[in-house]
Structures are given as C-alpha cells and as structure tokens.
C-alpha cells in the first residue's frame, strides 16, 4: 500500500482463527523475540473459540495523545499511527485510562506504554494473517469511507459478548 495516505487495519473478529501468528510476527518485529504479552496486537480469548485481536483503532481525536501529561505520544502523518517516545514516557497509564478500548498497556518488563505503530506502513500482523488466508486483519486505505474509527476502540469484554451472541447464540451470551 505504497500510494500514500493514511492506512488502517481492518479487523474481522469472527475470522480470527486464534492462531496468534500476528502476535508472533509483531513481537519478533518489535522485540526480536516471541513475546505474547509484549505484542502490539494481542488476541484475547475470554470465551474459548471467541478470539479477539485487540489493537489500536487510531481514533480521529486520539484521546490517548491528548491525555499524555508529558507529550510522549504523537501521531504519524504518514500512517496515522500513535507513536510512543519511550524515553519521554513515564508509564503513568493515563493513555490507558483515556482509551475507550483499553488498548494501550505498559510494556511487561519496561516502563513505557506500548501501542501499535502500524510498522511504519507495512504491518507484520496483517502479512502473517493474510499469508494463512485467515484475513481477520487486513490493511485498508483510510479514505473512501467516512467513519469514526473510535467506534472500533472497544474493550475485549464488549467485543467478546457481541461475538458470543453472534456465533454461539443469545442464550450463551447471557451466561458469559
């Protein structure tokens, strides 16, 4: 997707196989290791079979960036991603509180916030997902569909409940 403009990772939860190859690809790229809890995309499975790839939705108003008291968060003009300045970040967790989906988290062994940076335009998670034909994560251009991406910034519990109702039926959703 080299024709410029903002990009977005389209997420189709019900196609997620739960293979978590996105986590492997992401953590290898960013950490040089296989590290599930340090991956910028994390697949939650609060109910077996209901897998939720959870990652930044790049809200139009970036509440996380707004909330940062030390100016450690900024946005990329090229991709629209939220960028974290590790050195400035004080791991206060204000960005987590500000995120409607509770997507950011503090690095498991370090003191800075972790947020998807869209790999500078070529997200590894999307490649891994597409390679296996699952296509739960797909790279799309951000233009051509006027939509508030913030609506995709949902907590794993909320997404899980809705998916259970859709895949397993309303009755099961009540017991979750």
């Amino acid at each position: 997707m080299s024709d410029g403009g903002l990009i977005w990772i389209y997420r189709n939860y019900e196609d997620c196989s739960g293979c978590r190859r996105c986590e492997i690809a992401c953590s290898l790229k960013h950490e040089g290791k296989i590290w599930p809890e340090a991956s910028r995309v994390r697949v939650f499975m609060l109910v077996p079979g209901i897998e939720v790839p959870h990652l930044c939705a790049q809200c139009h108003d970036y509440p996380c960036v707004e909330a940062c008291p030390v100016g450690a968060l900024s946005t990329s003009k090229e991709t629209g991603a939220v960028l974290v300045d590790k050195d400035k970040c004080i791991a206060c967790g204000k960005c987590i509180d500000a995120c409607p989906g509770k997507v950011p988290f503090i690095h498991p062994s370090d003191n800075y916030a972790v947020i998807c940076d869209l790999c500078g335009g070529e997200p590894e998670c999307v490649k891994a997902c597409g390679k296996g034909g699952w296509n739960a994560l797909q790279l799309v251009r951000r233009w051509g569909g006027e939509h508030d991406m913030k609506l995709y910034a949902k907590t794993p519990e909320k997404i899980t409940r809705d998916l259970v109702a859709k895949l397993y039926g309303e009755e099961m959703a009540e017991s979750v």
Partner: protein, 625 residues
Amino acid sequence: MRGYAGKFLEVDLSSGNIKEIKIGEDILRQYIGGRGLAVKILWDRLGRRWEDVDPLGPENMLLLLTGPLTGFMPGGRICVSGKSPQSNGIVGSTVGGEFSIELKCAGYDGLIFTGTSEKPVYLSIKDSDIDLKDAGHLWGKNARETVLTLTREWWKDYGSLHAGRGLLKEPAMLYIGPAGEKLCRVAAVTHKWAHAAGYGGYGAVMGSKWLKAIMVKGTGPLPEVHDMEKTVEIADKIVEAALRMDLFRRWGTASAGYTTGAESSSEPVMNWQEEWHDEESFGVNEFERFWVKRFWGDYGCPITCLKIAVIKSGPLKGAVTDNPDYENQAYLGTNLGIFKPEGNIYLTALADDLGFCGIQVGNLLGFAAELYQRGILTREDLGGIDLKWGDAGAFAALMKLIVERKGIGDMLAEGTYRAALKISEIKGVDALQYAVVSKGIGIGAHGIRSEKDYPHYVSYACSVQGGDHTSVAYVPIDHGGSELAAMLYDSGVFCMFTFFSPETQRLLWSFLESVTGWKITPEEWYNATARRILHIQRAALLLGGPDLRWNPKIHDDVPKRWYEPLGKGPFSGKAVDRDRMRESISEYYRAAGWDENGIPTSEELRRLGLDDVDERLEHIRQSLK
C-alpha cells in the same frame, strides 16, 4: 541451556509446599522434554516400586511438561503424563493450546505434582506469583462453567487495568470436568472447550489429587534460543510447508468421518462390528453447515485444522464443540450407529462438557451397546435405558450414568477393559471379546483389517501407549511413521500435524539445533535417545500393577474382534491373519531390541546405560521362560 525456561515447578499437594527445581542439561539433552522427560522423571522417582503405585493414589505423580521446541515450532502443545490409570504404564498425552506457551513465558518448563490435597484446589500461576487456591465452588462443575467462572475470577483480579499497567490477556487453563472428579478412567485433562489430553486417563489422576484446574499467565518472552535468526528462518519454511496442506486446512480431519468408512474401510461402526459405511449424510459438507468458525487453531499454528460447530436450533440447541474432529466423529458417531452431524455434535459437546475423552468414552459406549444388542446387558442393567444404535439421547443418558457412577455407570467408569473383566465375571460370559482395546486403552478410530489405513499389524499390538493412534509401532523403526518418531513430537513438544510434511521432517534436526544448540542426528535419535524412552515405557507397561499386568504372550495382540472378517464393503472377508500377526510381532521385537518374548534385552539396555531397567525386568524375563 537454550529453548528452555530453565526451571520446573514442583507442587506437593499433600503439604501445599511449592518449590522450583532444576534439571541438569545432561538429562535434558537425553530426554528432551514432554514425554521423554516424563518417562525419565517417573522412572527415577517411582520405578523401584512401580508395581505398587496406585495410579489413583497419592503416590502417583502428575506431570505437565513442555519441550524446547514448544512455542518455536508452529503448533505448540503440552504433554500430560504420570502412571496411567488405563494401562498402568506411562502414556505421554499431549494437548494443543496456549497453556504450554503461557507456562514457558511464566518461566517454567513444566509442572510436577505429587501427593494429594484434602480438598478441591486449583493452582494459579502468574509469573513467579504462585498460589494454591480453594476450588470448592468449582468442584462438580462442567467444563463450560468451570472455564467461565475461572476466567471471571481472573478478570476481576487482573482485567481491571492491573496496577495501572493495562489489560493482561486471560490465563490459559487445564482442568477436569466431573468425569475426572469421579475418577472415571476415561476422563481427560481438558483445555479450552474441546481440547483434551485423553489417552492415559489423566483426568482421573487430577481428580484423585483433588486438583480441579491449573491456570497460568506468563508475561515474559519465550526463552532465549541458540540462534534466533535461524530459528525464525526454519520456522517460516515449516509454516510454508504447512500452508500447502490446502484441503486438510479447510476440513481438518472432519472429512474422514465419511472417507475412512467409505474408502479405506477402517472406521469403527457399531463397536467395530463393521468398518465400512457410505453414509453421505456424514460427509464433511454436511458438517460444514454447522461451522461458525472455519479455521480454529492454537498458538502459532499455521494449519488451524479445528473448526467450531454449533447447533443453533432444534432439540439439541446449544451444543458447541470443534469440527468434531475425525476421532470424535467416529467414536461418538459411527461407532454408536450415528450417521448424522447433529447427534454426533451433541454427544461430542456433552463428552467435552463432562470431561470425558471422546475416544475412550465412545469406545466404552459402543462396547456397552453391543452387550445390549447381544442381550448380555439388559435394559434393567442399564437403568432403564434402551441403548439402541443411533439413539444419541440414549447414549447421552448412559454417559450421565457413568459420570455419576450410578448403577452400571459405576462399573463402566472403570473403562472398557476393566468393565469387560467385571461383566464377564458377573454374567458368566466372555465380554472381553467385544472390548476393542490394547493394554487397557481404547484403540483409536483407525482399523487394520482392510490394510488401507496407516496403522499396520503391530501398530497397536506393540505400542507402548496401547491403543493410542498417535503413537503406533512400525517397522522400520526409524521411519517417520514409527512410535520413535511420535516420541519426537511428544517430547519436542509440538503437534504431529505440522510434522506430516516430509520437508518438515527433514528440517526438524537443524531446527532442534537452532533452538537448543544441540546437534542431535536422526541416527542418534533412533538408535539411542528415543530407544531409552521406548524401553522405559515398555518396562513400566510390563511391570504394571497394582490391579492389572500385561503378559506380552497374551496382550501383545489386537482385539479378538479384528480376527473376525469384515462383513460389509469392498474389503468384506478381510481379517487379521494370526500367523502373520505373530511373525510381525517377532519382527518388531527384533527391530526394537527386545527378546523373543518382547522384553528389552540386557545387551540393549546396558548399551544405553539403562542398567536399572535391566535389573527390574529380570524377573519378568525369568517368568516368561
């Protein structure tokens, strides 16, 4: 040591004492992990008094072990082991999922449980934060409720933005259902909702220790490897090879419910009275109608051969399970005379929810139904159940009697082989002739009579894991389809399906080196490493006890049923030939380094440094002379 977290956790359930232990590199180099290491630990600690150790007593151990390749090799699994309450030997029983990954990320290569608790407990691990917790509120709960309750409790503690650091993913869980709690020897150790370590009956071992569940969350990375660049490079190639398995990925093993019957004629039909059917209603296309997820897999899996089936309407509404996969299609389908997806999905979901191994309980239900068909068991014996072939409701009712240990259920809960002995005694008939088992373990759903499927004459007769279809004996013994190869994926520990491609099998040795730094050649594996595992497993099986022992002259054999000719289908008339069976067994003994009675020879054992095994087997050698 590379590829390993470097420590194990040992939990004494009697005292509640929990400690970290280390295992030396020399031992790991020889026994790798998973099944191999389980065999070594069990032999060292219990070998001297093996015959006296009650698999369901406090002396037995429960081992949950990863291997160095777990997490790096696409398709991670964990190996569950201990003294098996089915075979009285050692079974390495693996289950897919994230448990092994979370465990390694928490800093542990495995868990070792000894002793027994006095009340229901579960073990909670979050990195080095380890706690034995009360499980009184979980005891008696089915799979679905156990998982949901434990997840809810976890989420309360860690889901609400723990310590301002954001959300952690849910922990992975291994647990038992009521079947394990009631010490049913056909109970599984379960993960998610349809993932089971079924062979061996370790659900009952967990139940005997009052251990309801183990949940683990690791926030660290997988351990350091010898050469990360090479590890990633080879893993990518293995992924590529796996991704080429197009239709296997699409259908998983669920296409076999039809084809194993119609084409290879090796599928259990009504307790193996037949192995052929051509019921198109059991085609994978019919199952696809129930799939709400078309690819379902575990950590790192490129194949994602599982699918999720849901019954959304009608009387069986609410059933959720996997494909079902072939083994469950066969054992909770055709083996019970069920040839439509609904009944099969329903029974599979029920077996999962109660904590049964679908294969073992399906074997048992088919056995009971044949006894009913022949009038050996009456409707009164069965508590009023009219156990007719094809009636999913009747089989469900019997499954519930078994899990409650009510009436005949109490006897059947001991598994097909032990139930057959008891029924023979009570009814004055030979019920063993209807038991399709090997060394107390219900045989996987791949028959040998047509000779069109992968198992052969010695596959189950000589396997150290009895009826386990994922660990079959084979000659030549250094073949990728032999039991010694199975020890590689069970000790690695990773999924056998990623091992299918010849390319992967070729790459595996350099992969093992890139992860561990050890140069293990196929020659070393097949001539030494795997042989040690094989012989110790064989020794444990032969020593057996305390309730049952195996005599190779009698029990190295296939079930009587398979000497009867197939009735229907293109291979009708084919049966196992007795002379050929004896010859094949002798050939296997020679290939394995066992004497003419199937005992590992002194020379072979001493060559491998297994002198103590040799000494323990001497009295068996003498008694067979």
